[in-house]
Symmetry: C2
């Protein structure tokens, strides 16, 4: 069998992004040859440091190379300026839009037996909502008044619901192979605030419901539920074991996935993928953590899992499964854990332990 070559853009960004993205690269390079995968890497720039050097946080070149030359990418993290800086705006938000990576997929799962086992995926719409960033400010006799647009479209709501349903089905298929699971059947929970925002969130809700209660999801008996976002956060903490796939507009998804991350002990464990029609960017959920940068103690797990997630969406499920297994092995043995998990292992030691398990 001829090996498939995947060309991966590497965008470390700022802070510990520069420590975890190289770990992700080494993981991909270390995958067993039997998987039939080869990798080529392209180093690309984005972030706050890039902005300070070049006056733009996301150079056009980064976008062009990703679009024209790459199959996928790994993105580290970026620092934000401490107050608004003219011309600066988040490169990852821009990248999601420019590559039309319409889904942000964030699996949150306990490995080591926890008081409450958790195994959920948050599927966040990635292109609209308040993230369209259309803002204006005006002066009034009573001071400044600023407004932002929250935009929700039927199209974006439909496609995010669709991928959420597909993910629920895929998870169900994996469970059907006999993998131990806390879930009985596929469940998608639609999150919104349509009791206040009847048109915008109302449209998200009705569109998602329509998609998820029709073929092929109805035939596969995907259960569909709803939670108002405030109540969703409450439930997330009280009964996290009850949730399988949660689908949400951009901002609620952002908030919910940090909440879910808190449940598994550390943001350093939680991966994400920004997924489009035929491109995926793996991205750890944590930030650039300037406080621990340079000490070699950042947790690479979120990035390693993000690399696996990227591979999943590039249809390399076997390679992804291999990585998940190696990471789960590292965590359940618990010998090489980074300080955010209460351990003393360095980034390098965690990585080595995972590589040995591939």
């Amino acid at each position: 069998m001829a090996a498939r070559t995947l060309r991966i853009g590497l965008i470390p960004g700022d802070g510990i992004g520069k420590e975890v993205i190289p770990a992700g690269r080494r993981l991909l390079e270390a995958l067993p040859a039997s998987l039939g995968l080869k990798f080529e890497f392209v180093d690309l720039e984005a972030g706050w440091e890039t902005f300070q050097q070049q006056g733009v946080a996301l150079p056009d070149k980064t976008v062009t190379v990703l679009k024209n030359e790459c199959d996928g990418a790994l993105f580290g993290a970026v620092s934000s300026p401490t107050s608004a800086v003219k011309g600066y705006s988040s490169p990852i938000v821009a990248l999601r839009k420019r590559l039309d990576l319409y889904a942000n997929v964030r699996p949150v799962k306990t490995v080591v037996s926890a008081p409450k086992p958790i195994d959920m995926v948050i599927v966040r719409e990635n292109t609209e909502d308040l993230y369209v960033k259309e803002e204006t400010t005006r002066d009034t006799p009573e001071g400044k008044v600023a407004e932002a647009i929250k935009r929700i479209s039927q199209r974006a709501s439909g496609r995010i619901a669709n991928i959420a349903g597909e993910i629920a089905l895929r998870r169900q298929k994996i469970r059907a192979t006999g993998s131990p699971s806390i879930h009985r059947g596929p469940l998608v929970t639609i999150t919104h605030k349509s009791n206040v925002l009847s048109q915008t969130d109302g449209l998200f809700r009705s569109t998602a419901r329509e998609v998820l209660t029709a073929s092929p999801f109805r035939d596969a008996e995907v259960a569909v539920e709803e939670q108002i976002v405030d109540s969703m956060v409450y439930k997330l903490f009280r009964q996290p074991e009850a949730y399988d796939v949660i689908v949400a507009p951009n901002l609620y998804g952002d908030i919910l996935s940090d909440g879910a991350a808190a449940l598994v002990g550390s943001l350093g464990l939680v991966p994400s993928a920004n997924v489009g029609e035929d491109f995926a960017i793996g991205e750890p959920c944590h930030g650039s953590a300037p406080d621990i940068q340079g000490q070699g103690i950042s947790n690479p797990i979120a990035t390693l899992r993000s690399a696996a997630l990227m591979l999943e969406f590039l249809n390399e499920e076997a390679a992804a499964a291999k990585i998940y297994e190696a990471v789960d092995g590292n965590l359940s043995e618990g010998k090489f854990l980074s300080p955010d998990l209460g351990g003393t292992a360095k980034t390098e030691e965690v990585l080595q332990d995972v590589l040995c398990r591939l």
Copy 2:
């Protein structure tokens, strides 16, 4: 000393609102005469049932009577229709705006010794943000597109920051009397998402920071911190003991207060007050809970605490303290707890136990 007479509007609303608001009334009636307080009550209507009967969820009469005849009110909970109904919109959201009750104050506190002791107040802006409910929908070749306005003003951000600071100072004063506390000094944490919404949330952030770092708060050494909302939810679950007063725009405040409620075990414990220049409405944070309505098992504690909170903002701190003490006594003894807390006590039994402790 002549007794002060307070005229209180009672708006039970729907579902268990009809069980807990009468408990609130009986609590106020049972306060010891030595406090020098008399109460008169006016029964008022609002809610989903009201909408079904009268075609409006918040009758003008309710607003007029509150405005012209009352000093404060207790509001129960309202049910929402399961899908958008023409002409229906949440009466509590409308009431907050029409009475200009610009602050929603939600204290969340553990009484019984918990693994993580918590003692925080969420101060939520109550009049603007996405709650202005200015929405439009248009048809496009790609389907419907809906938009909502998120409005943030300097005026509303300034006054909410100011009351947050005042609450921090008041809490510090109570601690100074030697009450046991997990906090060292007054701290206000400003929550926002200005890394994405630089104008709207940026305005909230800079205005709040300006107010809270000036007199009188600077002189009283109120510490001021910031958290991006997603990270705030994460921290809320990881280090809830670190927070004292959290101030947030309307929607984030809504989400955060449900999250905080999850930390103390039940929404049935968490009170709120909607506070304006010279009016306060006490309102339990829980919903109308139609699933348990009519069984006499709803937890009245959130309403009893909301009555106390209302009294605090009507400058009756001694009466409020009396109620908090009685409720804390009930909870720490743990003999009469409602089912949401793992007990078997009926609403009536919980109420009686609290009344005996006044």
